[in-house]
Amino acid sequence: MTADNTLPELDPVVHAQARLRVMVTLNTLGDGDEIAFPTLKDLLAMTAGNLSVHLSKLEEAGYVHITKTHKGRTPITYVALTKRGRLALEDYTKAIRALLDSTGGIS
């Protein structure tokens, strides 16, 4: 709980259910690991278009790193959470917990 009773600010980039799910999924990967776009899409049950839009927002914020490469002749995109992204998710989770405490939820 925050000492002065001010509510923590929630990061608007993370505070959208779809992007939060993207970040949580990427956060389960080890440091230095990247996940293939189609796998991420299937894990999240999102359409490719929808996921692309959210990834662009996250990339703009510096939270994800996107690598476009080729496997043989097939283009393939890999996605990873940046250090900044991991910190942002950590801060967001802390803020949500603080919010829960201050609203008298389970502490």
Partner: protein, 207 residues
Amino acid sequence: MTNDGERVPSPEETLRLIEEQRVATVKALRGDPLLLYAPWGMAWLLGFGAFFLHYGLHGVPYAPISQNQALGVLMSAQVVAGGLAAFGIVKMAGQVRGETSAKGTMYGYSWFVGMVLLGVIATRVSPMLPAAESGLLWAGASLMLVAVLYMTGGAIYLDWPMFFVGVWIAAVNALGVLLGPGWHALLTAVLLGGGQIAAGFWLRRRM
């Protein structure tokens, strides 16, 4: 707060969403523990069960099974288990790249090199031993390698259950080798074969 994605409903629901998504991802990317452990457990249960019937506890066979037939049962069941593991690895290949897959490649080659080296050493030494002791050399040395590599796998992937399965294999193997071929086969079939099947079910329930 945002206009381009659904808003997160409440703090409680948000925390639940985070946890659910994390668990679902780990499940999908790590694979099913039942498929990882149970086929090897079944292979050892059948294979070492056959060896146990061949050796008997007091040097008298319990069933007319030759050493080669028992070996055939063990090897074919292990090929099935290995095939299932390979299927899992191929399915995962390309989905995630980076440090974890580099670790996996080096770890995979460690298994291969270990098994080849063990084959070289045991092939050289086993003709000097009586048949039962030669079988014990192969089985005991293989299980030593398996135990150490499971423990190493636990260290690489920070996977405590895998580490403790390795400790369990090491302990049962040591006891079995001290007691002799018949006991070694019996303990391996029941405690390690059965144990791996049980571990697979338990780890799946725990996910």
